[in-house]
């Protein structure tokens, strides 16, 4: 479906996206997660051929370039704001991009927009505009849908509806690449997680695997916590402090035991600490920041 190979994107002289590669398979819902300024929107714009880039992007094995968007015929997107013309009605906005009237009417009814679709879009609320933007992205039975912060301005009912529609389209084979700061919402739909910071991808995993293995941490308690903390910092072992414990990455559990043993600090507890999705993301970003800082 979507294949992104070693792309680099520049804004002026600054490299915003750094050697990014990933795949989005048919039927998958990939959550693109990262802090503000990480490069999420730039990656999405790059896939849509809207920025200059090096590397290779292909949709259904057809290349996307800045000068040829022929491969994007069956790609729908909502980037930054709903792309609507206020002087047109909702339906007229859809007609601009629709290739199939029956499909357009289906999208309107699916999103529950029938009652106001013939009103001028300048009179729409923020949530209505957002829904219209999503409707434009879902037109023409897209193979790939790119949504940048789709839940912006949506009330709880609309959020649940959009989540349901995304799953429905994915079940029919559409692939999704979605960025959102509302991690809880994203977690409920995504099948894969793509974590990005400072223009680099640091995690690209199926969500089940992500939850199960990679980012479990260990909590650690010793008889001399201040000395332990200093020791770990001196040995450049990434740690997160909680009230009574230190949290360490799973792959550090053996090295820390050796260090403690060699410094005669008695280990009182070393046990797996399950983190929720948000905590894991924050912890991974913190670790990455620390590593970058140390470099």
């Amino acid at each position: 479906m979507l294949q992104v190979n070693h792309i680099n994107t520049f804004i002026g002289r600054k490299k915003i996206v750094k050697d990014v590669s990933f795949r989005v398979n048919p039927g998958s819902i990939v959550g693109l997660i990262g802090p503000n300024g990480a490069g999420k929107t730039t990656i999405m714009k790059t896939i849509l051929g809207l920025t200059k880039f090096t590397g290779k992007i292909s949709v259904e094995n057809k290349s996307v370039t800045e000068n040829d968007h022929g491969a994007l015929t069956r790609v729908g997107a909502l980037i930054e704001h709903p792309a609507i013309y206020p002087f047109l009605t909702g339906l007229e906005n859809l007609k601009l991009y629709s290739l199939d009237e029956a499909d357009m009417n289906h999208v309107v009814s699916l999103l529950g927009m029938t009652s106001y679709i013939n009103n001028k879009s300048k009179d729409y609320s923020m949530g209505m505009k957002q829904k219209l933007g999503i409707a434009i992205a879902l037109l023409n039975k897209p193979q790939l849908v790119i949504l940048d912060e789709p839940m912006n301005g949506l009330d709880i009912e609309a959020t649940i509806l959009i989540r349901k529609i995304i799953k429905q389209y994915a079940a029919q084979g559409s692939a999704f690449l979605i960025s959102s700061h509302v991690l809880g919402e994203l977690q409920k739909v995504m099948t894969n997680v793509l974590l990005i910071t400072e223009g680099k991808i640091i995690v690209d995993q199926p969500i089940d695997e992500f939850n199960r293995v990679s980012h479990q941490q260990f909590r650690l308690l010793t008889e001399d916590m201040p000395a332990t903390e200093k020791l770990f910092r001196d040995n450049r072992i990434p740690i997160t402090k909680t009230d009574n414990y230190l949290l360490i990455a799973r792959d550090q559990s053996y090295p820390v035991q050796d260090i403690l043993y060699s410094h005669h600090i008695r280990l009182l507890e070393l046990s797996p600490q399950g983190l929720n999705f948000e905590q894991t993301i924050v912890s991974l970003l913190e670790q990455q920041r620390r590593q970058n800082h140390e470099k």
């Binding site: 849509l48 994007l72 997107a77 930054e80 609507i84 013309y85 601009l96 991009y97 434009i136």
Partner: protein
């Protein structure tokens, strides 16, 4: 290309101003018809050239500003095969609208002449041609002049996102351009041979065609020269505008 052109046409026909502009043109033509000689009115289609230019400036600037509002340009661009299609289609639409406004100006002129200011259409007037031929040729020449202004409006629109600023700047080009160019050429110098080819000089094409004796002294160019100059600058500004549009970060 055809879908992209259809999108432009669809938006254009849903813009209120598209339908208001011909009415404004008619009101202007009726208002001006009482102040100029009947034959001059006939040749210049009731002095509609400046009015049409202003209407096209507003329309041209709006065609771009509506895209920058809400970043609709992003969707428009990725849905089009090439950025060139977006830019070219807008140019085609405004060119067709330019033709329509000029045709309407001719129709309004015939109607006004028949009802308010009768003239003999076959009497010989400028360039040893009948009045009616003068009118059609002036209209043709004015289509070139207005497209020159439009190519400038498009170029400015790709640089500046604000509709109001683009309209103000473009109208300044229309009204002060002639003054700036004539001031530059008034100081006869060694550079005059080059300066007379400046783009602002070309905006005087219609005026020179209608009043050759008065304007040739200012532009220092013949009718064919100024026509070729205007056509060349249309291409130059179109190309520059497109290059800026392609490089612009949205």
């Amino acid at each position: 290309m055809s879908k992209s052109l259809y999108r432009e046409f669809y938006k254009f026909r849903h813009e209120k101003f598209t339908w208001i502009a011909p009415l404004l043109l008619l009101i202007f033509m009726i208002a001006i018809s009482g102040y100029i000689s009947a034959r001059f009115l006939a040749v210049t289609t009731c002095d509609s050239t400046d009015a049409i230019t202003i209407l096209l400036v507003i329309m041209g600037a709006t065609m771009f500003s509506m895209e920058f509002q809400n970043n609709a340009i992003l969707t428009l661009l990725y849905k089009s095969r090439r950025a060139m299609a977006v830019y070219l289609n807008k140019f085609i639409i405004i060119f067709v609208y330019d033709l329509i406004l000029h045709v309407l100006a001719i129709v309004f002129t015939f109607t006004l002449a028949a009802t308010m200011r009768p003239v003999s259409w076959l009497s010989i007037y400028q360039y040893h041609q009948p009045l009616v031929v003068n009118m059609f040729l002036t209209t043709g020449v004015d289509i070139i002049t207005s497209m020159l202004i439009i190519s400038i409006v498009f170029m400015i629109s790709t640089i500046i996102n604000s509709n109001a600023v683009v309209v103000t700047l473009s109208i300044a080009v229309v009204f002060f351009g002639e003054y700036i160019s004539s001031s530059l050429l008034a100081n006869h110098s060694l550079l005059t041979a080059w300066v007379k080819w400046n783009p602002l000089n070309m905006t005087m094409l219609t005026h020179q065609y209608v009043y050759y004796a008065g304007y040739h002294e200012t532009t220092l160019l013949t009718d064919p020269q100024i026509t070729m100059g205007a056509l060349t600058y249309i291409l130059v500004f179109f190309a520059l505008g497109y290059l800026i549009f392609r490089k612009k970060r949205f």
